[in-house]
Every structure is written in C-alpha cells, then in structure tokens.
C-alpha cells in the first residue's frame, strides 16, 4: 500500500486494506454489474450472468453490523502466530456491510471480547498489530447514538 503512516507496521498482506486514520478494506467492483469482491477479484466477474472483465479497486464501508461472532479459546495451529506467551484468546466477528451486501470476517479489536458483542450491533474497521512486524484489520464495537456498546 502507498499509505505509510505506520512504516514500522506493514500490512500482513498486500492490497487487502488501507491504513491511516480511516482504514478500510480494499476490494474490487465489477464495472459491468456492480458486484463487489473481497478479497479482490482481478480478472473476471464471478456473477455467473455477467461477462464483465473490468474490475476496479474500491474501498469497502468502514462500518457494519455484526452478523455473528465467536472467540478462539485455544491457540489456533500454525501458520497462526500467537502474540503472547501464554496464549490469550481473541474474539472474531462476521460483519455485514449493507451497501456492498457482503459479510466479512475479522478479529475483534484488542480489549473487546464476546461479552462486548451481540448480533446486529454496529462495529467499525480499525488496523492493529497482528504480530511484532505486521498489521491487520479488526472490527471494533462502536456506541451508536442513543445506545451503549456493551
């Protein structure tokens, strides 16, 4: 990514998300039918009734609602790299982005667990360390107007 606001923390994978103050996932959108793809689809539209071959880069909505959620109480096997020793569980959310009509997985932001989540609550994309040298997108619960993020 061209964005270099956090030079010490390179994205853990190239071209999947932007960094900076308002990070976002990067997908592609078919110029012919408008279908959105994440991770990015480069060559051919996957809508079976669309012959589109021009897919333009697009950033996805930074906010969505939790479709479902869970956590990882036991350390996942390699190539997962644990951040701490001993291992500390982390939460995972599947988040529905209304405009794109897509559900995207992500770990949940540091400091938040399953008790802070519920199906339907709003979350926002943030970028945090994945390990000592790389960063990853995460979903962070946000308090909507008139309600508390639990």
């Amino acid at each position: 990514m061209a964005d270099s606001t956090t030079p010490a923390m390179a994205p853990a994978i190239d071209g999947w998300f932007t960094t900076g103050d308002e990070p976002a996932l990067i997908g592609t959108r078919c110029r012919a039918c408008g279908s959105v793809f994440f991770p990015r689809e480069e060559a051919f539209c996957r809508n079976p009734r669309c012959a589109g071959t021009e897919l333009e880069e697009t950033t996805l909505s930074r906010r969505g609602r939790v479709w479902s959620y869970t956590d990882a109480r036991y350390q996942p096997p390699p190539p997962y790299v644990p951040r701490t020793d001993p291992y500390e569980p982390f939460a995972i959310a599947a988040v529905e982005l209304e405009e794109e009509g897509i559900v995207v997985l992500g770990q949940v932001a540091d400091g938040y667990g399953v008790d802070d989540l519920a199906v339907g609550v709003p979350v926002e994309l943030v970028v945090e360390p994945l390990d000592d040298t790389s960063s990853i997108w995460r979903w962070k619960p946000v308090a909507a107007a008139g309600e508390e993020a639990r």
Binding site: N47, S68, A72, E100
Partner: protein, 399 residues
C-alpha cells in the same frame, strides 16, 4: 426405477485414533464390503478412491493406492476430492459409469489418518491459498466457523446451549451399540455444558473430533447383481439420488475457508441457501420428499449444525429444529430419527470416508441390520453434508 444402481455391499474399519496408514483402513473396509456383497475383488471393474490431502502422494492418488493394495487387477480407476463430500462424489462417479453401461461392479473407498487437534492447512508460505491465509491472518479454525452459525441460530431462533447439548446427548445414546463408533459413552446435558468452551458458544463436547477410519461401498447394475447372484437378495437397497451441487451466486452465508461471502449488491440472493439446495436436488432426483424419509444421517460437525440440517433437509420449518430435539422427534423411536449411527458426535470426522460412512449406516438401517440402534420399518433414508470450497452432498437410498 429399473435404472437404479444397487448397493451390493458396505463395510467399514472402526473409527478411532489407531495411528496406522490410511491404506490399511481402506483395504479393511473394502474387504468387508466385498465380503458383505458376497463377491470377489476380481469381480470389480472400477475402483474409485476418496482423496485425502493429509497423507502425501498416496493420498492424492487414493484410487490407485487402494487398487494396488488390494492387488492390481486391471480394474479402471478414478480419484475424487470434494472435502467433506468426497465419498459422495466418488459414489457419483461410480454410479455414472454404471448407468452409462461402462461399468458393472464398482468399489468406492475412502479412508483417512488425521492429526490430533484442529485440522490445519498445508505447510509452507501459501499466500495464494485461502485455507492457509485464514489461519495466518485471522487464526480462523473450523470450530470458529461452526460457532458463528451456532451464535447466529441463538440470535435468530432462540436456541440455547442446552438445546445444542441435547443433540450430543441423543447422538451419544444412539452410538452406544455401534461397533464402528469411536466414542461409546452416554453423556448428560450438564457434562456437555461443563466441558471447556472451544469457540463461544460451543463447548468441547459440542464439536466433533478428528478420527482415523475407512468406509467402502460396492455398487452394481441390476443385471450384474443378478449375474453374480449376490448381495441384496429380496431386499435390495437402491441408490436413488446423489446430489453434489455447488452453491448459487451470491452465496450469502460465510463458509470455510472464506474471508467473506459473495456480494448481493447486484444480484439478489437465491431462493435456497446452499445447504438447502444440496438436499433439494437429491429429493428432486429421487422423486421423493422429506415425508418419505425414515431416517437421516446429517453432518453434525457441531451439535448446533445438526439443528440447522433439520431445516436444510426439510424435516421442519426454519426455527423449529429446537422443538424437534426437545420433543425427541429425532431420537430413535421418534418421528424421524437423525444420526441413528451416533453421527460425528460418536465417530469424529475421517473426511474422505465420512460421506461413505453415512451411506453405510443408511444401508444397514434399510436392511434391518443396525443392531442396537435399528429404526424399525425403515424404508428410505437421506444423508447430508457440507465442507470446504463449496462442496456438499446428499445421498438418498431406499428399499
């Protein structure tokens, strides 16, 4: 009806953690199926192997591996990979050749040797492999996906952890007398809820283990069965349908090993979800419906997922599965017993063998040979499963 391919024989190697080569389980199961059919290995003109990616080169060419181990006989060979649906896809290959008149008697074999703990992706730096990336970037295990479905079910349909535990209690009881089951011990709801949480809301006893095991099925044309004078006798089991459909775009349910669903921005979601469509295609092909089924073997990778399957295969409407398990409808003796074998809860998963193991159980049930777990008067049964990469299957068998 006269075109139906017949099941001449079925056989299994007991599930467990035996630590031997998958080949030995496959050969054991194959010999058992041949003996059950009352035919010789030399009567088989086609071998189809279910591929196992975990066992090196021999696993990638499973059909030939089993053929060589049984003794080269000149039989034709094929190998299938379809994740959890591997066995059904192998069965479909054999059925297609028989129905085309290109094979008389086919042997279908699947076997696996699994590691302890979580199923993990292939080793190496595999940045173009979504199955590798989901672990590297998210630490996303298979049980984490199962847990997303379970939590969603709780939010949408009011399922409780007790409902999930009831599925385990039922399946543990079903599998008690099954000689091929790995776990044969009753459990209580309290014991399930007291087991450690692996992926909230699922406990250790809600999630199926990984197992070693092997299963085999012998198929034949009606003419070949008559010529061999073997097997089915006066109660032939007929293979009525094998569904191996892929999803329809946009697939709006997040699935292993994906990072995201398809987008419904441009195209509305299909009438049926992927899991619904798997069984629907099987019913259409068989000309039968859920009301015709005497039993079902479904893929209880988690207890909660078994409840989803009740709805996916049409045993009840969405949101009613909890009532079925609470009322004992899916217990042996109930309206429509589900997983009379004990299911994955009692077996653990041996991926390329599992869809065939489901078929073995339905065959034994239809023949009245499921000692200690028999569904009385069983006349037709359905299997259903789903796994990675858009693979799923459903098989319907009947007398």
């Amino acid at each position: 009806m006269s075109d139906d391919v017949l099941v001449l024989g079925v056989g299994m190697h007991p599930w467990g953690k035996w630590g031997r080569s998958f080949v030995s389980y496959g050969v054991h199961a194959a010999r058992a199926a041949l003996a059950d059919a009352g035919i010789d290995w030399s009567d088989v003109d086609l071998v189809v192997g279910g591929e196992t990616v975990r066992n090196g080169y021999a696993g990638y060419v499973a059909g030939a591996t089993f053929a060589q181990a049984l003794g080269w006989s000149g039989a034709r060979v094929a190998t299938s990979y379809a994740a959890c649906a591997t066995g059904a896809q192998a069965l479909d290959t054999a059925r297609a050749r028989i129905r085309a008149g290109m094979s008389d008697v086919a042997l279908v074999v699947g076997a696996d040797t699994t590691p302890k703990g979580f199923l993990a992706p292939n080793a190496g730096e595999r940045y173009d492999d979504p199955d590798w990336l989901r672990f590297r970037l998210l630490g996303m295990t298979n049980p984490a996906y199962f847990a997303l479905y379970a939590r969603r079910r709780m939010a949408l349909h009011g399922a409780t952890p007790e409902d999930f535990a009831r599925v385990k209690v039922k399946n543990a009881r079903h599998g008690l007398a099954n000689p091929n089951a790995r776990y044969r011990k009753e459990v209580t709801v309290e014991e399930v809820l007291a087991s450690p949480v692996v992926a909230d809301p699922l406990h250790l006893l809600d999630i199926c283990a990984t197992s070693d095991g092997g299963a085999a099925v012998v198929l034949a044309s009606p003419a070949a069965a008559r010529r061999l004078g073997s097997g089915p006798g006066d109660r032939p089991v007929r293979l009525r349908a094998v569904s191996t459909v892929t999803p329809t775009f946009p697939n709006t349910v997040i699935e292993m090993p994906n990072f995201a669903t398809d987008s419904s921005a441009a195209v509305a979601p299909p009438e049926r979800t992927f899991r619904d469509s798997i069984a629907h295609a099987a019913y259409e092909e068989a000309g039968l419906g859920p009301e015709d089924m005497s039993l079902a073997e479904v893929y209880d990778l988690s207890t909660a997922l078994e409840l989803d399957w009740y709805e996916n295969i049409g045993l009840c409407k969405p949101g009613e599965a909890e009532r079925l398990v609470r009322d004992g409808d899916t217990t042996i003796g109930g309206r429509i017993p589900v997983n009379p074998s004990g299911g994955l809860a009692c077996f653990g998963e041996a991926v390329p063998a599992q869809a065939l193991a489901q078929v073995c159980e339905v065959v034994w049930q239809l023949r009245g040979q499921a000692e200690g777990r028999q569904v009385e008067g069983a006349r037709a049964g359905i299997t259903a499963n789903q796994g990675l990469f858009g693979h799923g299957s459903s098989v319907i068998l009947s007398l």
